[in-house]
């Protein structure tokens, strides 16, 4: 029933549009017929108007022009009338009226459709130009045969203008003065007086004065006009004068657009109307000069897309005025809106046209699409707040972060229960009709996001909606999602981030992108064949043959969410589009281990976003999955085979996601490589993009300047560091990043390791590294060793470790010492490359024997080795493994490693344990982060002390209370727990009571941490109970007590109790 109804509705609407178009064509036919007189034309229009209206049978038309009036036979004054002024050169010269003679249901404007309003305005506009043209013609013909004195052609035109459009004459004259002035003609200065408010000849400068100036009378100006042109004649050729006049008259026609665009007060609706009018003028040859076009483009870009000069500079070369006409049709805005599309919207819009304009050079780009998108302008949020009287919320960002966090769920709730203004609802309803029942993604597009030079990625919400069911339900779902995205502006994470970045006072507005989700239905799920992110610069190179410029793609089956985020339990497929044949994973074991096992989808039955097992989906619906043969490979015994399109057996065969077909057999790598290169070149810097693919077409979803995380920003490499401070330097395969405050170095001496004779000893070194990995402070130490970390088989050539043995290091460094006449090939971390990528452990190769490389071997071999103190069992390996407590060795300093991939340079320095880290991007930023971290450890330590002070040692049988780890080391992050060792010597009952007592603390501290940071765990205290025996045996955590380095700190117990007693 419903579909039937909406189908009928659609057919009706189409019929109406057809009628309107037909009407417009007929009017144009009349206007273009040179044989017809004005009288004929006006009568003709009266005839053709009524059939274009919704109820032609009761429709009548009238045109009034100067003193003339034309009416259809039964025209009468009724309340149901649509009027539109006929304007010539800003002067109303007449009016077109269309009326219904009987009452009809009210729609947009009385009983008239809004399309009918557009229609009548368009017709009156065109009629205006026609009438102007006719007037000029008349004047021209009148003046035509004047034999006595041959006046120049420009004279005739000016004469003509004087009669028909004196205002235009004055405007043109003014332009001529400027033109002459710019051409350096001095005489023109005397004429400035006439056209400019105040002008001082002496200074040659305009001066503002406070008194009102006397406007010149029109007649005087007319006289001066001719004087100006006479003067021009002395200096310019007739042709030049004539060309200029032609140009200025043409430009003047688009004057209305200038008025609207340059006026910061004009609303989007006005701009939209002006653009549409402009668009309709085009068939009549509204030629604009390049500078004028440019100024229009820039004005439009500034109003709608971005006011950043960097953006405008690029955008004006690619976006045409008419491109905006299409765009405006998909913008939902409120009356008087001054909003913009926001960063994401602007970025995508620009990229789309950059790619479109580059198709001549690179035909592959022709296939690139962008998903259908509607936009809600950035001031929509303010409108929403105002409409629901929620003004108080604007001050939210200045509140305390824990208060913000506490109030956020409430704000979200309030927003979801607020309503949108009718005009927005109307717009959303239109958008839904346009989309149909396809799943949608509601993306934030704030002014802060995706700006040049700032990365504000992923801070605001993006929501998927299934968009199924009745129109009412779909509309409600859409509005809920928008409200939730709106609410995320006031969420604690973005506000905290803005505070850190010094952007809190930025006037933030939130645009919304309503975007069709690219994809196909597979069973009850909706998903793209595959999607992902791509970077034009590759910072994670797994082979020396891959250049930074070769780029990097992270790709997954299904929705791209799993490629955007770093995952802890799954992997995306990685490849470098510039070198697609050099794959990260080579052995079958690696390929299977690092293949994606899950996929994100939209469940169309339950209308929710889900993560499902890809294997199960393929077994059930493999045959329906788009382009599946390009995504998966068949895993047989010791063999991975690319399947053919036909004959895939999803029940029997074991499939793994490899994207082998896509990478080996299609244009995809070349296509995405071209996209990255074109965008990088035109946007003047590295970019990252999001994309999706439905099996047939490539869709660009987002494009922005490459964003850097906190640690992988390119470091500024200082050149004036004294040599003794440099521990090592590197100049090959250097990534970007800064690792500061390294407290410990684990150095496996390449020479000594090579000299180990016993296989068991070689294996023991790997195990020792694993033990150190568990003891040393997380992400505060670096691992350095010979050749290939993670070597299997011939482990003499690299320390045999698994990922779990190195998982806490901040960097993995491989040292390639020259051996006789060759330098061994390094692994680039390939044994666990993807684990390194997902946990952001930086890999760096060192070539100490290369020219110009620093390598202070003495630092590693000569510094005090604390291995034996840390793990007495391993003291026998002290020759091979050096564990250096940097602070102890250097008198309180730390090691800092600065890396810059563009310069291919990295240096490790001994530096003060200052928290200021210089980077190319922003000095304040990182400083702020560290300061934030300071807060995390400080209150943790306060509370640890507090707990100890409140603990009754007698009651619980406790002999000592220690704190260690990040709380003690002042490195705690928002997610860190508080590590505590309790030296216990009591009864089992006491132990139970103690743990219960501590659990109370743990839970309440966890809640406090949640309020501050948003991290929720099952308890913030990590309590390690050790006994007398453990301490004697130096077992497990007991070694921390009285340890040589990084020892646990004892805290006084029961102090508070005594006081209270």
């Amino acid at each position: 029933m419903n579909t039937r109804k909406s189908l009928d509705k659609l057919v009706n609407e189409l019929k109406e549009r057809a009628k309107e178009l037909n009407c417009l064509y007929k009017v144009q036919e009349l206007l273009n017929d040179r044989k017809k007189t004005v009288d004929d034309v006006l009568r003709g229009i009266i005839e053709v108007l009524p059939p274009g209206w919704q109820y032609p049978e009761i429709c009548q038309a009238k045109i009034e022009y100067q003193n003339l009036s034309y009416k259809s036979d039964h025209y009468q004054e009724t309340p149901w009338v649509l009027n539109s002024d006929i304007v010539i050169q800003n002067e109303i010269v007449g009016m077109i009226s269309v009326c219904y003679t009987e009452e009809r249901p009210l729609i947009d404007e009385g009983p008239f459709l809004k399309e009918e309003r557009k229609l009548i305005d368009t017709i009156s506009g065109q009629l205006g130009f026609y009438l102007l043209h006719q007037r000029l013609k008349t004047v021209f013909e009148k003046k035509g045969p004047v034999p006595e004195e041959k006046k120049p052609e420009w004279w005739t035109i000016l004469e003509m203008l004087k009669g028909t459009d004196p205002e235009l004459l004055i405007r043109i004259s003014r332009k001529m003065i400027n033109y002459l002035g710019w051409s350096g003609i001095k005489e023109v200065e005397m004429l400035f007086d006439y056209f400019n408010p105040v002008y001082e000849k002496d200074s040659g400068l305009f001066k503002e004065v406070n008194r009102p100036y006397q406007a010149q009378k029109k007649d005087d100006l007319m006289f001066v006009s001719f004087e100006i042109f006479k003067m021009a004649e002395k200096h310019l050729s007739e042709k030049e004068i004539l060309n200029n006049i032609h140009k200025w008259i043409k430009e003047d026609k688009s004057g209305f657009l200038v008025d609207i665009l340059e006026n910061t007060g004009s609303s989007l609706v006005e701009i939209s109307n002006a653009i549409e009018r402009f668009h309709h003028l085009l068939p009549h040859g509204l030629e604009l000069s390049e500078p004028r076009k440019q100024s229009f483009r820039v004005a439009l870009i500034r109003r709608l897309l971005s006011d950043q000069p960097e953006y405008i500079n690029v955008a004006k070369r690619f976006i045409e005025i008419n491109d905006f006409n299409e765009l405006f049709k998909k913008i939902i805005s409120i009356v008087g809106s001054h909003g913009k599309l926001g960063g994401k919207g602007a970025g995508l819009f620009l990229s789309k046209y950059i790619l479109k304009k580059s198709t001549d050079k690179i035909p592959l780009l022709k296939e690139i699409k962008t998903p259908k998108t509607w936009y809600l302008t950035s001031d929509g949020l303010l409108n929403f707040i105002k409409y629901n009287n929620l003004e108080d919320i604007v001050e939210q960002k200045y509140k305390d972060i824990d208060q913000i966090r506490k109030e956020y769920p409430y704000i979200s709730h309030v927003f979801k229960n607020s309503s949108f203004s009718p005009e927005v609802i109307n717009g959303l309803s239109l958008a839904l009709d346009d989309f149909g029942k396809v799943p949608l993604i509601i993306r934030s597009s704030s002014l802060l996001e995706d700006r040049f030079n700032t990365a504000f990625a992923g801070k605001y919400k993006s929501l998927f909606i299934a968009n199924q069911g009745t129109k009412e339900k779909r509309l409600q779902e859409l509005m809920d999602a928008i409200a939730e995205v709106y609410a995320s502006t006031f969420g604690p994470d973005p506000i905290e981030y803005r505070r850190e970045q010094g952007l809190l006072d930025f006037h933030e507005e939130m645009g919304i992108l309503i975007q069709e989700v690219v994809g196909k239905k597979v069973g009850k799920y909706f998903l793209p064949a595959f999607a992902g992110v791509a970077f034009s610069h590759n910072d994670y190179r797994w082979s020396g043959r891959i250049k930074k410029e070769d780029g990097l793609v992270r790709i997954v089956p299904g929705l791209g969410t799993r490629a955007v985020d770093r995952l802890s339990d799954d992997y995306p497929v990685l490849f470098s589009p510039g070198q697609p044949n050099l794959r990260v994973n080579v052995t079958i074991d690696e390929i299977v281990r690092y293949s994606p096992k899950k996929t994100d989808v939209i469940n169309l039955e339950t209308n929710v976003f889900e993560t499902i097992d890809i294997g199960t989906l393929l077994k059930e619906r493999g045959a329906d999955y788009p382009a599946v043969h390009q995504i998966v490979s068949v895993l047989a015994e010791n063999y991975i085979q690319q399947p053919k399109k036909l004959g895939m057996d999803f029940q029997k065969d074991n499939h793994v996601v490899t994207f082998d077909g896509l990478i080996n057999n299609t244009d995809f790598p070349e296509q995405i490589y071209s996209i990255l290169k074109v965008l990088e070149e035109e946007l003047n810097g590295p970019v990252d993009i999001e994309f999706a693919h439905d099996g047939k077409n490539f869709y660009l979803l987002q494009c922005r300047p490459l964003s850097y995380g906190k640690i992988n920003q390119p470091a500024l490499i200082p050149y004036d560091v004294s040599e003794e401070k440099i521990i090592f330097s590197a100049n090959k395969f250097v990534p970007d990043g800064t690792i500061s405050n390294i407290s410990h170095v684990v150095y496996v001496d390449p020479k000594k390791y090579g000299e180990l004779e016993d296989y068991e000893d070689l294996r023991a070194i790997g195990k020792a590294v694993g033990k150190l990995n568990n003891i040393l402070p997380k992400r505060q130490f670096v691992l350095m060793g010979p050749g290939r970390w993670g070597s299997r088989g011939d482990i003499k050539l690299g320390v045999s470790v698994m990922y779990s043995d190195i998982s806490n290091t901040s960097m993995l460094i491989e040292i390639a010492r020259k051996q006789k006449n060759y330098v061994p090939e390094l692994s680039f971390g390939t044994h666990f490359f993807q684990d390194l990528v997902e946990s952001r452990i930086i890999y760096l190769p060192l070539y100490p024997d290369d020219q110009g490389i620093f390598f202070q071997e003495r630092f590693f071999t000569g510094s005090e080795n604390i291995l034996g103190d840390l793990i007495p069992d391993l003291a026998r390996f002290s020759e091979v493994i050096k564990v250096i407590d940097v602070s102890h060795t250097t008198g309180g300093k730390v090691l800092k490693i600065l890396m810059n991939s563009n310069e291919e340079k990295a240096i490790a320095l001994i530096s003060e344990s200052t928290h200021i880290v210089e980077t190319n991007i922003s000095k304040e930023k990182i400083f702020e982060n560290i300061r934030e971290n300071d807060i995390h450890w400080k209150w943790r330590l306060d509370f640890a002390e507090n707990i100890a002070a409140n603990l009754d040692p007698g009651r619980f049988g406790v002999k000592g209370f220690y704190v260690f780890g990040s709380t003690k080391n002042a490195t705690a992050r928002s997610s860190s727990d508080i590590d505590i060792i309790i030296h216990f010597q009591g009864t089992p009952e006491q132990r139970r009571d103690l743990l219960l007592w501590l659990e109370g603390w743990s839970l309440s501290l966890d809640h406090m941490n949640f309020l501050r940071t948003g991290y929720k765990t099952t308890g913030l205290l990590d309590v390690h109970i050790v006994t007398e025996e453990d301490i004697k045996k130096r077992d497990s955590y007991a070694i921390k007590i009285g340890a040589v380095t990084d020892a646990a700190r004892p805290l006084p117990m029961g102090t508070r109790l005594k006081k209270e007693k």
Partner: protein
């Protein structure tokens, strides 16, 4: 004086010397077997994708082919050395010999890291390897197989190059091929089944019916799964398995006193044998620390995961009830722990013998390829049983007769067979 470094080949020679001592081999035989019979060193020019030419170094070492065509893998390894290849070739000789199959031992490789080569380059490298060495290898002289960083695809490229040059089809030139392209059925099961066949024979000798026994298994990969499958067919009860947890980066043991359900656990494990610990707990398994598999009150322990798992630190945690340790993995017991096990008089079926099912199946692949007739899986597994049983019985009898441990006996018997073949041929 330059310090000596650890050398795999020297270690292999030392091991051989020990066996030669026990066998009281004559000097010539010792000298002959301490070194490979033939070594080929060659360069392979490779046209890279970018148009440049790079030169790679390749090897093939044929340690001994007295008992039949040499057999051994081809490794792609960036830091390959000739001594490593020599040692591995020698071990192949002993491995085919202990399984008593008519093959010798070889190994080969290329110094390269496939992580830095495209598939096209790898294919050309494989073909280049064959071109350089084709005169010295073949289905009746030296039969390659996949090894470190090579797989069935590389074997097919190599086979194709060999067949293009000879102009004939010789599927028996190489093993490790996919089923349907000259591969054998039953390869997946072979190693795990082989382990249990040796266990079955050991139990038979001890006079214990398998259905009265329980076992605990380390690992849940291919070897472990098929070992469990066959053991359960014999009505033995597996009460505990351990597996590596990728998320937690540690292993867990899963215990069910009334016996684990193989299908149930398989359905909640990933392709690497990682068992989902939450789902396992839901199914009633006790989730215990990784090492718990070793401490179970069982009759049989089967380490079938990694090397160096039974060490002097945990060897004392093994229950007194344990009668047999069957080494499904390579080198799961450290030498010190092995010593301790000997003192406890625990019966250890050494890796060398216990996991020989794999090499026996490779041999079957070669046999089937040579006659171009391929057996059904039952036939393959039936023949595997016969081969493994007789291999076990030979070692066990030898151990008893000469009062050796099973590990020593396996090694000595294999050296002895090769030495005998050399003598029979009149070489030494």
């Amino acid at each position: 004086m330059e310090k000596k470094t650890y050398n795999l080949f020297e270690a292999a020679q030392k091991q051989f010397d020990h066996a030669a001592e026990l066998l009281e081999l004559d000097g010539a035989t010792r000298d002959f077997l301490r070194m490979p019979m033939r070594e080929y060193h060659f360069t392979i020019p490779l046209h890279m994708d970018d148009g440049k030419v790079k030169i790679f170094r390749g090897f093939r070492v044929q340690h001994n082919d007295a008992r039949g065509p040499a057999k051994g893998g081809i490794r792609f390894h960036p830091l390959e050395t000739i001594d490593t290849v020599r040692a591995l070739a020698m071990w192949m000789t002993w491995k085919t010999s202990v399984a008593n199959i008519p093959l010798g031992g070889a190994k080969g490789g290329v110094i390269c890291d496939p992580h830095h080569l495209s598939l096209g380059e790898q294919e050309r490298l494989c073909r280049g390897w064959i071109r350089q060495v084709i005169k010295n290898v073949g289905p009746y002289s030296d039969v390659p197989a996949p090894d470190v960083m090579t797989n069935a695809q590389h074997m097919l490229w190599m086979l194709d190059e060999y067949e293009v040059i000879t102009g004939e089809r010789h599927p028996g030139f190489i093993t490790g091929k996919p089923v349907g392209m000259g591969g054998s059925l039953g390869r997946r099961e072979a190693t795990g089944y082989g382990v249990i066949i040796t266990v079955r024979e050991a139990l038979r000798e001890m006079g214990i019916p398998p259905e009265d026994t329980t076992a605990s298994v380390q690992g849940f990969g291919n070897v472990a799964k098929y070992a469990i499958e066959l053991y359960q067919k014999m009505e033995g009860k597996v009460v505990c398995v351990s597996s590596w947890d990728e998320n937690d980066q540690c292993s867990y043991s899963f215990q069910k006193k009334e016996g684990i359900d193989l299908n149930e656990l398989s359905s909640i494990s990933d392709s690497f044998g990682g068992i989902d610990k939450e789902k396992a707990a839901d199914l009633g398994y006790a989730v215990l620390p990784g090492e718990a598999w070793l401490e179970q009150e069982v009759d049989i322990l089967i380490p079938a995961a990694l090397e160096d798992q039974i060490t002097c630190e945990n060897v004392d945690k093994i229950s007194k009830r344990v009668k047999i340790i069957a080494e499904g993995a390579n080198g799961p017991t450290t030498p010190e722990a092995d010593e301790a096990l000997n003192q406890k008089e625990l019966f250890v079926i050494p890796d060398f013998l216990a996991n020989a099912g794999g090499v026996v199946c490779s041999y079957f692949e070669q046999v089937q390829s040579n006659m171009n007739y391929f057996w059904e899986k039952d036939e393959v597994l039936g023949k595997l049983d016969a081969k493994m049983t007789s291999a076990y019985v030979a070692v066990s009898d030898f151990a008893k007769a000469h009062k050796l441990t099973m590990r020593e006996a396996a090694y000595v018997i294999s050296v002895n067979r090769v030495a005998q073949a050399c003598r029979d041929r009149g070489w030494v």
